[in-house]
């Protein structure tokens, strides 16, 4: 009985939070988001934000603490239990598109105190780990080209399509 009651309360709070954030940001929540961090090799992705909101309900799954949602990771909760909604919620607002450039590395090293968010993935990894991790659990598409079609440059890199190896694949030599 008790558990059901708690779940009910959680659901109500969740809905309220969702409503509150909708109210707070008003038209700020986009229905579609264009993601194109790897457009060098792949077509951009038109991410259907609205349908993901509808099916997941929990913003914190992707947006961590930034939307003011309850965070489940105890490590995050130490600081962000009640830190409320943040002015920046977009992925690229926090996740660095070029996490290993000399500048980014320096910035990270110079961070004071050198404790928080030290292991923050870059933007591309943030997308992939978040999307792919969830898709694997929920049965969403997981193949590379299920989400983004490879462009010609990508085909060239992967030696696929018209760049496929001309020579027929040799009988496999065992290199042990």
């Amino acid at each position: 009985m008790h558990a059901v009651k708690r779940q009910m309360i959680m659901l109500i709070i969740g809905t309220l939070v969702l409503l509150a954030s909708s109210v707070c940001f008003g038209t700020g929540i986009p229905d579609k988001i264009n993601i194109n961090v790897i457009q060098k090799y792949y077509a951009g992705v038109e991410f259907n934000h609205a349908s993901h909101i509808n099916s997941l309900k929990d913003c914190g799954l992707c947006h961590h603490h930034t939307t003011g949602a309850q965070v489940s990771d105890p490590n995050c909760a130490r600081c962000h239990k009640n830190s409320g909604a943040q002015p920046v919620v977009s992925c690229k607002g926090c996740h660095n598109a070029d996490p290993f450039s000399p500048e980014s590395l320096k910035e990270q090293r110079d961070q004071q105190p050198p404790v928080y968010h030290r292991d923050k993935p870059g933007l591309k990894a943030a997308y992939h780990m978040s999307c792919l991790g969830c898709h694997q659990k929920m049965g969403g598409p997981t193949g590379c080209e299920d989400c983004h079609k490879r462009n010609e440059k990508g085909d060239e890199l992967f030696r696929a399509g018209k760049f496929a190896p001309k020579t027929p694949a040799k009988p496999k030599k065992s290199h042990h």
Binding site: S101, R109, T142, L157, F158, R159, T167, A169, K170, H175
Partner: protein, 302 residues
């Protein structure tokens, strides 16, 4: 009895040989324990993140201008067998089906040891450990003895056996020429969609690796592979299963490979110093009061 003159000649001959070989040992002994360059870069590989997309293989092929592969880089049939690095592929991804666990993938490439076995076994000093952390290779002096391939504890260096005139050792060089020198991450790290590889100062990555284990002790085995293995490697690994289950040598020694031959190399100066006097002395004892050398030829001496 030998004449004094002959004795001196003998000593001189030994001395010259001694001088010529003495070099062999001194440097090796002086090598001591090298902790690595302070600002050397490294890569932390988190095996739990890899999805086996082979983008790193494609990027490596492109960056290093390697020959066309046998199969497309999005062909997953390559996972049917365990591959190793070759002269045409400096990095390969293998698939490991671990019992009762999820499938794991592991990317293989040069681990860029702090005290590389390839370097210390090379008799023409073709390898260099740069201050940026890369182990690079100087093709212009390589004789092709392939001792580095024998010595590498990770079986990384390959050889372009098929080239009749200019066969060379081929291995990952951390994209030293094109990227690392300028402080940029290697091509495989940059293209990885899952950030399986985290690029940074090795010293920082050691901490980061342990932090990640500490933050998620249920997920990872409590070991940062490469932190200590063979004296430390620039590329280090985190895994959710024992490293032996993903084809890594779980019993690898912590001492650098050169430590294994130090005993022998230390023995060299001793032999050089003691043997000449010892055996000349024995000669004097053995031949005292006996006839000197019989000449080999007979003929009309008889």
């Amino acid at each position: 009895m030998i004449e004094r003159r002959d004795f001196l000649k003998g000593c001189l001959a030994c001395g010259v040989t001694a001088a010529s070989i003495g070099v062999a040992s001194n440097d090796a002994l002086a090598a001591g324990s090298f902790e690595g360059y302070p600002d050397a870069m490294g890569v932390l590989v988190d095996l739990t993140r890899c999805v086996g997309c082979r983008s790193c293989e494609a990027a490596c092929n492109n960056e290093q201008k390697l020959p066309e592969p046998d199969l497309r880089f999005d062909d997953t049939s390559v996972f049917e067998e365990k591959r190793r690095t070759t002269d045409k592929a400096y990095t390969v991804v293998n698939k490991y089906q671990v019992a009762n666990k999820e499938t794991l993938f592991r990317k293989i490439q040069c681990n860029h040891c702090t005290e590389p076995a390839c370097l210390s076994s090379c008799f023409v000093n073709a390898y260099t450990k740069t201050k940026e952390g890369a182990v690079i290779y100087k093709a212009s002096v390589c004789v092709g003895c392939r001792n580095c391939m024998i010595a590498c504890p990770f079986n990384i260096p390959a050889y372009s056996y098929s080239s009749p005139l200019k066969p060379l050792v081929k291995k990952c060089i951390f994209c030293y020429d094109t990227r690392l020198k300028e402080g940029r991450p290697p091509a495989c790290v940059e293209i990885c969609p899952q950030q399986v590889m985290t690029f940074g100062r090795r010293a920082d990555l050691v901490k980061l690796g342990h932090d990640r284990i500490q933050a998620n002790p249920a997920k990872y085995v409590d070991k940062l592979y490469g932190e200590k293995a063979v004296g430390g490697t620039s590329w280090m690994y985190l895994s959710s299963v024992d490293f032996g289950q993903v084809g890594m040598d779980a019993h690898i020694q912590n001492e650098p490979i050169i430590a294994n031959v130090k005993d022998f190399l230390g023995f060299v100066p001793m032999v050089l110093a003691i043997w000449p006097a010892l055996f000349t002395g024995i000669h004097l004892l053995a031949t005292k009061n006996k006839d000197g050398h019989h000449d080999h030829e007979g003929g009309d001496h008889q």
